[in-house]
Symmetry: C2
């Protein structure tokens, strides 16, 4: 049997998830610690590190790092119809895990700040007290700030990662995290409390707030190879579609699930009078929209001509079919 | 008359300051705006940008960017006894100003977060209401977060700056801003309220809280050239000495000056029962210590064998002799 066909046939997404999650957890455990990366002899205070670890470790779906790893696999195995070897891949596992963890760390910092009393004032996250409840507001603020810096530190090790890759990853992450990305989306979210948004305004908010970082995860994984524009555009379209799908499903779960299943406060958006897909489109149309976005994501991958996209497809399905 | 001698003789620090400050202000004005860097068509919300601009523009001594520019000049003009031409300098004005502004933007974000009610709860900064007073706490939190991301975005333009330089600058800035730098120092500061610190504990706190970013400013300017270890160590020692001197003088001014002169609340540390150089060493010994640190900084430059250090020397003097 052709080895490639066999590999495709027996791809076990559950096993892929388990293996890659383990790698992500080990790496986060190692990098969010007293001596982050190669900092020259400085000692970080133990209580700050404790708050940072609490924010990052032991919880979370790790969707963003898994997207980085899956996109890297797809990019690294090259295009259909080309030879089997890696295609312009410039570095090994350590660098990919750095990229994966950097995105997760940005995500984790945003949750810490988002939960603070001056923002969403939430006390429950991943089934545990939020960081400011556990460590105090000032420490939560600093832990979030230090986590953002750590993400960029992880992407710029002194050795073992080509400069061009470091620069490209930092650029993608900084753009996705900043005022024209995640932080910008949160500012729109702030301003939208009690407001009536059209579907396109809602989409713009979520494209920035959640979509930018999810899409950046895909593009950061893809950045490890020199892909032709068709493939890169496909990855980008895939990332945009699942970024939006993620939020639509989030809005659906906010009304159909409960706090124990979600690990965070259910019904929060409605209580805070925030516009959601459910409030704008209704529950049924939101469900159909999520399904359409899933198909868009899968079609984009199809068009891109990349060979090894099983994990990306598995993640897209997971995003839409999840129950928490 | 030897041109070099003439240039050294007529160096006018006031003029240097005025010229370089103008460049920094123009660049900040340009880069902290609706379309930061090369973000691909995303629109950042106007109120967030307004809070970011308020935090960064129209105020501040701009010490950090001036240190970047002065260190760049020293590094770029090479070592004494070598030929006159630039020494391994890899890029032009735009890149240096990006580095200068990135450091200032990190500094500005730290002030925004530091002033928030859960931290120092300060209402006055640079003679104006603090960001959370003017824009609300949530917007202040997000503006700080977005500014941190913007700093890294500025350091990673798509064109016009070598990858190796981008990576090096991001590394220096991330380390200086994070848990083993500025954010770490602020966490120690939090924990030290009401505590009795020894002089060495106080120094460690300030080495992280203020020193790390000031030293990074010098090293980022130096990163534009490939300096020999002697020169790089000298720059590093200079940065460490003025970083500490800055804080000692800050502590002195906190008790000897008034809020109008300082543009921020005077006597704040004593009121908050925070340990300071004045509380640990007394006023007179603190003054002598600042003078010693100035001499250390100037001696380090002397030892480094760099040619064009007038601006660095001028800034060191300014740090210690300032009255606000």
């Amino acid at each position: 049997m052709d080895q490639r066909l066999k590999a495709a046939t027996i791809f076990d997404f559950g096993q892929w998830m388990a293996d890659h999650l383990a790698g992500v957890e080990r790496s986060l455990e190692c990098w969010v610690s007293v001596k982050p990366a190669a900092s020259a002899g400085h000692g970080a205070p133990a209580d700050l590190i404790a708050a940072m670890r609490y924010a990052v470790l032991d919880g979370g779906k790790r969707l963003r790092p898994l997207l980085v790893l899956a996109a890297h696999e797809a990019a690294a195995s090259g295009m259909e119809g080309t030879s089997d070897c890696g295609h312009g891949v410039v570095t090994g596992d350590d660098a990919v895990l750095r990229a994966a963890c950097a995105v997760e760390i940005i995500h984790a910092y945003s949750l810490v700040h988002d939960d603070m009393p001056c923002m969403d004032n939430d006390v429950l996250r991943r089934g545990k007290p939020t960081v400011h409840v556990k460590f105090g507001e000032a420490q939560a603020l600093l832990a979030g700030d230090a986590l953002q810096a750590l993400a960029f530190e992880l992407l710029t090790p002194e050795f073992g990662m080509p400069d061009a890759l470091q620069a490209r990853l930092c650029r993608l992450l900084a753009q996705a995290a900043g005022s024209a990305g995640m932080a910008g989306g949160q500012a729109i979210d702030l301003a939208s409390v009690g407001a009536k948004l059209t579907e396109s305004q809602l989409r713009e908010m979520h494209r920035l707030k959640t979509g930018a970082l999810l899409q950046a995860s895909v593009l950061m994984g893809a950045a490890f190879a020199e892909l032709p524009p068709t493939a890169l555009n496909a990855m980008s379209a895939y990332g945009a579609a699942i970024g939006l799908a993620f939020q639509v499903v989030d809005d659906i779960l906010d009304v159909t699930s409960d706090s124990v299943t979600l690990g965070k406060t259910a019904g929060k958006d409605a209580n805070q009078d925030k516009p959601t897909y459910v409030s704008v489109l209704g529950l049924e149309r939101s469900g159909r929209y999520a399904q359409e976005l899933l198909e868009q994501a899968l079609n984009a991958l199809e068009r891109g001509g990349l060979r090894n996209t099983q994990a990306l497809r598995g993640l897209a399905n997971m995003v839409v079919r999840r129950t928490s």
